[in-house]
């Protein structure tokens, strides 16, 4: 296969990955990495590098649309971004030392857990009193509703901060956005309103991925010939997915997609255990 043929095929596969990633809410990165490595035989490190830049593209593209809704809590995002960027840089540095097969196993496990998290119902605790650290960092804010702004308090900042460090490390190690772990931290640990969690998480994904991508670029893990069809394809696919998501909110469709993600995750972990990467 020559460059034209392979670029075309990878481009088409990336469109589907972006579509799948946006319809399942997991992001394009977690889908394109198994596709590149398992179906196209691409080295895992090149796949991670290409995925990272596509993650930045989809996050920034989506953020432009989210901003107007006014849900993002920029203070929370920026404060926790200290944890995710540090984690991302650590994870990206770790990627150079950790054996590729071990990365594949971690990838499979994280993908499975992310898919599980995205299907769990969002349980909210009772509204609690303001907490000291949230007050000190002036994180409490209000979410716009039809009845006017509704105030909320930020809880367990330390747990959120820790989880964000982990999300950053996974993002740097695996080349994904770690959106599921970020939403877990914001929505479950810190008890933010769901819309605030998803939009703030999306903002953070782009910044985290940029921190990792810098390290990958200087390490020579980002190959332009590969990243070109992946970035354009995933971006196109996720834009299509965002349109489709508005038009069809079929549960059955999401179940089918989740099954695909499940198979990919098991294949990655299995391939890693068998030493195929």
């Amino acid at each position: 296969m020559n460059v034209v043929e392979l670029s075309g095929l990878i481009g088409v596969a990336s469109i589907f990955a972006g579509l799948l990633g946006s319809l399942t809410g997991l992001g394009g990165g977690v889908v394109i990495i198994p596709v590149l490595t398992l179906a196209f035989g691409v080295d895992l490190r090149y796949a991670i590098g290409a995925s990272l830049v596509s993650v930045i593209a989809t996050s920034s593209g989506a953020a432009a649309a989210y901003i107007k809704e006014g849900y993002i809590n920029l203070r929370i995002g920026m404060l926790l971004e200290v944890a995710t960027t540090l984690g991302a840089i650590a994870g990206a540095s770790l990627a150079a030392i950790v054996p590729v097969n071990a990365i594949a196993i971690v990838f499979g496990v994280v993908l499975l857990y992310s898919a599980y998290l995205s299907h769990r119902p969002h349980v909210k605790g009772e509204p609690a009193a303001p907490e000291r650290w949230a007050l000190r960092f002036r994180l409490d804010s209000a979410v716009p509703t039809l009845d006017g702004p509704r105030p909320y308090h930020v809880r367990r900042l330390h747990i959120g901060f820790g989880l964000m460090g982990l999300a950053g490390a996974l993002s740097g190690l695996l080349g994904i956005g770690s959106g599921a772990v970020k939403v877990l931290a914001l929505d479950q640990a810190m008890q933010l309103p769901f819309k605030v969690s998803t939009t703030t998480s999306n903002f953070m994904i782009g910044v985290t991925a940029a921190a990792s991508a810098g390290v990958y670029l200087s390490r020579g893990y980002i190959d332009p010939g590969l990243a070109m069809p992946v970035t354009l394809g995933v971006l196109l696919g996720s834009l299509l997915g965002a349109r489709l998501l508005v038009a069809t909110s079929s549960r059955r469709l999401r179940v089918v997609f989740s099954a695909v993600v499940f198979v990919l995750a098991v294949q990655m972990a299995y391939g890693g255990v068998m030493g195929r990467f």
């Binding site: 460059v3 691409v42 006014g70 910044v207 332009p224």
Partner: protein
């Protein structure tokens, strides 16, 4: 609390949305253009993504990429597009720093400065 001093929230939001769209738009255009140049010149060659080699210096440093892109190299042009993409969230953080400064919110100026420094160190290759 709000950005009432100077910049209104709506104005900041519009500016950030424009910044992000512009970043992604310019980046994708550069990637697509560089890709066309690369495929036109090297389309018939056999790609080698199966074995990891690492990219040459011209494609891993900001100076190297700029130099290659000016010479019209397709791969360097793609890389310049990817660099623009990486720069987009960084520009957004820089913009937030400015917003916090205009609001005289010094605690968050410091927080944002830390994040921005880490990002700039990462992209200039000081952390790898």
């Amino acid at each position: 609390m709000s950005a009432s001093e100077g910049w209104s929230d709506a104005r900041v939001e519009t500016a950030v949305a424009v910044l992000l769209r512009l970043g992604v738009g310019v980046a994708s255009t550069l990637v697509a253009f560089g890709g066309a140049v690369y495929v036109a010149r090297h389309g018939a060659e056999a790609p080698r993504y199966g074995a990891f080699r690492g990219e040459p210096m011209e494609l891993t440093t900001v100076a190297g990429i700029l130099h290659g892109a000016r010479a019209g190299s397709g791969r360097a042009l793609i890389q310049l597009g990817l660099l623009t993409l990486i720069a987009t969230p960084i520009a957004r953080v820089a913009f937030s720093l400015l917003t916090f400064a205009l609001q005289r919110d010094w605690m968050y100026v410091i927080v944002t400065f830390i994040v921005l420094s880490l990002l700039l160190l990462s992209v200039t290759g000081h952390l790898s």
